[in-house]
Symmetry: C2
């Protein structure tokens, strides 16, 4: 069996959350290993990259709104830092988001949301039909009105994944292309991560020939970050009550493409049932369904139809775009739609999951806060309201992979 170096921290999960934490921790001088079978190819890859705390505000989610706003405020500098560290663009586009109403019912719902946004002190502007079409001439002429959230932007989530991978590599993060089967625990302390059979180390700082089947091999580490998205509830070696109660929430999205010089729209456009996110190069992301279907990742005819219809109702020229890809992501849902961030279970375990629809948005603050927690042992104030222990007493989700 190959010798495994001890890591200061092992991050289980190589989505934007795990990669962001690993990069920040490694940049601060730690020795970090990330374990993921297919880094960056989960929910991070399927996402649309909306950074929309204002447009997506929901009743009864005050603490989450504060975190989301902090994250949105952190994004410009974070984007610059990732680009500096990786030498790659992340496609951060500060264009704002326009929510529009197709009809009177939509407009009434939008008015309610607008008043709630005002009560929350958010920066929003109510627009008439004509004003909407002045901003976005491609809108359907029947659009009844809208709300502009000038501070809700976007990032190219796939470019972000690639940039974080490059930043991790440059910072010396070791990537293990395997599956974490269990936490290794001695007494009340984490001692490492046990890999599943068939995993194989790859990339990162690893060198030399790889063992083909590190069955049951353990990566020793006194600190483990559980950031495996909707699969985080399936890690072995933990008491049920220590597992984060995450569940997969299926989202289907469409990737479209048109000419770069004739953009479908110039900023994020959304209706009640759909959002349309234009990249600068002619690509357009249309999303997303919200489905409780367990770990199913099937692209369904009904969802594709509904997304296309909803997009066509807002922006008729969508019809002319090429449909280049249909994609499914499994969001890590949490009981209150807010993430679980902080220590949990045995000493040395940190949870960073449950980001639900806000994984891309919350990447900067999650990465900063968890890296700080790993370095200091102190929970940063920003994430204190989101401790994983707040669901104590609940039965954890039993559908996670790896649990009986």
């Amino acid at each position: 069996m190959a010798h495994r170096p001890t890591a200061d921290a092992v991050v289980v999960g190589g989505g934007v959350i795990g990669l962001g934490i690993a990069w920040r921790a490694a940049s601060a001088g730690m020795t970090v290993t990330v374990v993921d079978e297919a880094p960056g190819r989960g929910a991070s890859w399927a996402a649309a990259g909306m950074l929309a705390p204002v447009t997506e505000v929901h009743y009864g989610e005050g603490p989450l709104l504060a975190l989301n706003l902090a994250a949105a405020g952190r994004w410009p500098s974070f984007a610059a830092e990732v680009e500096e560290a990786s030498g790659r663009p992340v496609g951060y586009r500060p264009g704002g988001t326009l929510a529009v109403a197709r009809d009177a019912d939509d407009n009434a719902a939008l008015e309610d949301l607008y008043r709630f946004q005002l009560r929350c002190g958010l920066e929003v502007e109510r627009l008439r039909s004509r004003e909407c079409r002045q901003l976005e001439p491609g809108l359907h002429p029947g659009i009844r009105g809208g709300v502009l959230a000038a501070g809700d932007h976007q990032v190219d989530n796939r470019a972000l994944v690639q940039a974080l991978l490059a930043a991790c590599e440059r910072a010396g993060v070791r990537l293990v292309a395997g599956r974490a089967a269990a936490l290794a625990v001695e007494g009340d302390r984490v001692t490492g991560v046990v890999l599943a059979a068939g995993g194989s180390p790859a990339g990162g700082a690893a060198s030399g020939p790889s063992p083909s089947s590190p069955t049951g091999e353990t990566i020793p580490s006194g600190a483990v970050v559980l950031a495996a998205g909707c699969w985080s509830g399936g890690l072995g070696g933990l008491a049920a009550e220590a597992l984060p109660p995450v569940r997969p929430v299926k989202g289907q999205l469409l990737y479209l493409r048109g000419p770069a010089d004739q953009p479908l729209c110039s900023r994020n456009v959304r209706g009640l049932e759909v959002y349309v996110v234009p990249r600068g190069d002619g690509r357009v992301v249309v999303g997303a369904t919200v489905e409780e279907q367990g770990f199913d990742t099937t692209v369904t005819a009904g969802a594709v139809h509904d997304l296309l219809r909803a997009a066509l109702e807002l922006l008729p020229d969508t019809a002319e775009l090429e449909l280049t890809e249909t994609v499914v992501g499994l969001r890590p849902g949490s009981p209150d739609n807010a993430p679980m961030l902080g220590p949990a279970g045995p000493q040395g375990l940190v949870v960073a999951t449950g980001h639900y629809r806000n994984g891309i948005l919350l990447t900067p603050v999650t990465a900063d806060a968890v890296a700080e927690l790993l370095a200091t042992g102190q929970v940063p104030e920003l994430i204190a309201p989101f401790g994983p222990g707040r669901f104590a007493g609940r039965v954890p989700a039993g559908t996670a992979r790896g649990t009986p």
Copy 2:
């Protein structure tokens, strides 16, 4: 330069038409070469495999109807012969086709079609709403009525492609994976086919190392069959008036999949805007747009939406199916929607293209008749009305690939 054996016939184009001809000719003892960059991956691959002369009858196409009916009658034995020759199934399913009306307008149009079908002496049965739903319980409850064409069947066009390729290989047909650039002509006689630069021979009876760039290489042959679908108008070396006036007619289709034991429907179902073709294994083909877009093969959001909507209006459970593939085919359209079959231009040239929407259906009669023509020099009576010369005086389509 490698030595090329003389062929009794070279078939330009490896779709079902070209492969069918090659197989029949080789089975009759001829030495046959097929030239195609990607055999079977054009319109033959994109098709749905409907064998529907009755359902798809059109006003003013009497001669074509007779040919289509002859082809449908030939299908059962042809399917058995291909399966025998190849050792592979072709998925011929004699289930009939049910055309249905969503509303009163549809029903009036269907009634007109039904009366026309009766006048043509076709076997059709007018059904009430309830009778339609008894045949196909998955139909939308709002379906107003239908017409059953009990003799309109289907074949799995992709299985047919694979089987014809295997049958050709067994019959000794040589496959050259290259592009035919021009006909070689001396005086008034065909002498072979000139390959484009970069083509390379592969598969079939070929052996030994392949030349990497047979630039301008000629395959000598006194007989050439031009069966290159919508690209048939682009062959060099021919006078413009000898080129068949084919044009590409774009068709977008969807491949869906559901559980084999809960079929969406048990026979072909069609409305005015869509057809739904169920395979026996849970796959379902939904088609097709009819678009004059030149050689464009883009899958568009608007077409996918319209096909899904039309299918959902007929069979609501379509929503639950997996969308596995979007595909574009370029049908070889002809000025009168009927194929061009027979000698044309210099002696030794035979045209077999312009099958438009009936390529799969007409494969048996085309293969039989053209193979007979190659063997005897006589035009079989069945295809006599479809001589390529019937458009003499027309300007050929100028959009074909390879023409200036």
